[in-house]
């Protein structure tokens, strides 16, 4: 069987065991994590909006996204968006204009937001919507990726993703175009 053949060849040919290095987190060089997150997100094509409460999110959504099909699984926004989508065929989310989901935490160095299946409702939601909005607590912005994985720890999930900005491509002569397949725009609501 190939399994045994491969494992035997690897065992025979591998070099002498060397130890794993200690992984340090290199500390926090940012005096203002919100400002750092916002500045990186802006350069990669996303928008950060600081809000004090859920009403401000509702207002922002009404001003910018009125008329679009909206989905969310966030209780404070329940009356402005659909709920039934959570159990529907994921293909039926093709026409979602705005998905508002929660991000567990964000990373200041690269403006990535950690979202797992539980927050996504359906796995495809953050990828198929025309605009993705993620709500993140300001206190949940961590400095670097090492802090992020320390935060995730050994927790189990079926699927999780770091999401940094809108979908993009530069495959045509290195010109940056937003909205290759997934969201054409991405908003991060940073809430107190």
């Amino acid at each position: 069987m190939s399994r045994e053949k491969i494992l035997a060849a690897v065992a025979k040919n591998k070099p002498t065991l060397t130890p794993l290095p200690e992984i340090q987190d290199f500390g926090n060089p940012y005096s203002d994590l919100v400002a750092q997150f916002t500045s990186v997100l802006t350069t990669i094509g996303g928008t950060a909006v600081e809000v004090r409460n859920w009403e401000e999110i509702q207002q922002y959504v009404q001003t910018h996204f009125a008329g679009r099909r909206m989905v969310t699984n966030l209780a404070p926004l329940a009356d402005m968006a659909q709920q039934s989508w959570l159990t529907s065929d994921p293909h039926s989310l093709d026409d979602v204009g705005l998905a508002i989901l929660e991000g567990q935490f964000a990373v200041a160095e690269n403006s990535a937001v950690w979202v797992t299946e539980a927050e996504m409702g359906q796995r495809v939601t953050p990828f198929i919507a025309e605009t993705l909005a993620l709500v993140i607590k300001k206190s949940a912005i961590l400095p670097k990726m090492h802090h992020a994985y320390a935060q995730i720890g050994a927790v189990e999930y079926g699927f999780g993703a770091f999401i940094a900005g809108p979908s993009k491509t530069a495959d045509i002569e290195q010109s940056l175009v937003l909205g290759a397949h997934g969201p054409k725009s991405m908003v991060a609501f940073l809430i107190d």
Binding site: M1, S2, K5, I6, L7, A9, V10, N13, K14, P15, T16, L17, T18, L20, P21, I23, Q24, F26, I44, P90, E109, N110, S111, A112, R123, V124, F127, I128, M145, H146, A148, Y149, A150, A154, E156, Y157, G158, F159, G160, A161, F162, I163, A164, G165, P166, S167, K168, T169, A170, D171, I172, E173, Q174, S175, V177, G179, A180, H181, G182, P183
Partner: protein
């Protein structure tokens, strides 16, 4: 066609070669800015290299651990000794499902295994969904770069291609319009295909999960809408622990394109409810390379492409001139392991300037390995003829002081009186290079005259 013939052909179009060169250099500069912004960059490279070294030194144990945890997560694990077996496994999964159409996101491993032509021969329609890959697929070409598959295409040419295949207006060469057309074309495929195939950037032994990085979101659009997800990975893609991802994700995108991270770093741990998830662990020569002491470090590669973007030879010869799925400096180390005869020319397609080793995020000694391959290939009678004659002559000259002195004189005479003589097919170094003004006398001659 060997590398230098293909490079010659590429260089016939001077303007295009310059454009290609400058585009890649621009990407290299973006990488520099991203790397220099991280004070601990060198520490990260060291850590990444050490983690990968530990992986190689304990790979069998990690593979077994990964298999156990992935299975516990509900993933079906397959093992493939070579490209043929890998392709057969993919086909058998499709047959079991009764499926003849798939969407695919980027996987250099499947390029290495020539999966697409194999599936097409077996009646399966394959749609590459990465924009760059779709472009070269429509043009019936392989990718020319592992991160930017159609870096050698101009937008006007893509406009003509899309006009023909996707019905965009004639003469349209606007990147936004063309991308939007591809988005609509591919969205229909995502919504209708039931099997999605992806590559793997990292697989975590500790948890049995694997990570796929894209900017476009095409891997996610494919897999989360499909009933079956097939992920293909080389056995060297293992990392021991989840926390090690923090090191590699900090290095990968910064090295590749200068981005702080790819838009999506997707961690697949369990199949979606009702979905099937398969992972194929592929050897295809990797265990053999592991046994070659001088070359085993090449298995640390995380496929960021930085060594290509910085390589003066790659930039001015184009990815296709390497006639291998992975081009550039790293491809030239990996390819002879796959086929020494066919790829004997590749380790010679380098100036050994060392720029590749300097940018490599996992600190592979790329240029030293290229040099070692030259020795191995020459000793075993595999090296390309023109360079062998030139090199043998050079070796003879350098090993004998009197011949060295004499040949220096001849060299100076030849260059000043008959420069065309140096520009012959036995001197590949002359091609595309300005030969320097020869000095009137060598240092040796000058020293003899002036030492009194």
């Amino acid at each position: 066609m060997n590398h230098s013939e293909a490079a010659d052909k590429f260089n016939k179009d001077f303007d295009r070669t310059t454009w290609h060169d400058e585009t890649l250099w621009w990407v290299r500069q973006k990488r520099d800015r991203a790397a220099f912004a991280i004070p601990e960059w060198e520490d990260l490279r060291n850590m990444a290299s050490q983690i990968k070294h530990n992986v190689l030194s304990n790979l069998d144990t990690y593979l077994i651990e990964f298999e156990k945890n992935a299975k516990a997560n509900g993933i079906t694990v397959h093992w493939a000794a070579d490209a043929h077996e890998h392709n057969q496994i993919v086909l058998s999964i499709l047959k079991e499902q009764g499926i003849q159409q798939i969407v695919k996101s980027k996987s250099m491993l499947t390029e290495e295994c020539h999966l697409n032509p194999f599936l097409v021969e077996n009646g399966v329609e394959v749609i590459d969904t990465d924009l760059g890959e779709r472009i070269v697929q429509l043009a019936d070409e392989p990718p020319s770069h592992i991160v930017m598959p159609c870096i050698h295409w101009k937008k006007e040419e893509i406009g003509v291609l899309f006009h023909k295949h996707l019905g965009t207006p004639e003469g349209c060469a606007d990147p936004s319009t063309l991308t939007l057309a591809a988005r609509e074309h591919l969205r229909e495929k995502f919504l209708t295909r039931r099997v999605a195939l992806t590559g793997v950037n990292f697989a975590v032994a500790e948890t049995g999960e694997f990570v796929v990085c894209t900017n476009e979101g095409n891997a996610d659009m494919g897999t989360h809408l499909a009933d079956v997800h097939i992920a293909c990975m080389g056995i060297e893609k293992i990392v021991p622990k989840r926390k090690h991802l923090g090191v590699f994700l900090r290095l990968l995108a910064r090295s590749a394109t200068g981005q702080p991270i790819t838009t999506y770093s997707s961690h697949f741990a369990k199949p979606r409810e009702g979905q099937q998830m398969h992972i194929i662990l592929v050897d295809n020569g990797r265990s053999r390379q592991l046994g070659r002491e001088e070359f085993r470090n090449s298995l640390k590669c995380i496929r960021c492409g930085a060594c290509m973007n910085t390589c003066p030879v790659y930039r001015r010869s184009g990815g296709h001139s390497y006639h291998n799925a992975v081009a550039g400096p790293i491809g030239s180390i990996l390819a002879p392991n796959l086929d020494m005869t066919k790829n004997a020319d590749l380790p010679f397609a380098s100036t050994l300037c060392g720029s590749c080793s300097n940018v490599c995020p996992v600190k592979i000694n790329i240029h030293e390995q290229l040099y070692s391959w030259r020795q191995v290939l020459t000793k075993s009678g595999h090296s390309p003829t023109a360079k062998t004659i030139g090199m043998k002559a050079m070796a003879a000259v350098l090993s004998s002081p009197s011949v060295y002195r004499f040949s220096g004189k001849i060299g100076r005479l030849t260059l000043s009186n008959t420069p065309f003589l140096v520009n012959n097919s036995l001197n590949p170094w002359y091609k595309q290079r300005e030969m320097p003004e020869p000095p009137k006398e060598s240092f040796g001659e000058w020293y003899k005259k002036n030492r009194k």
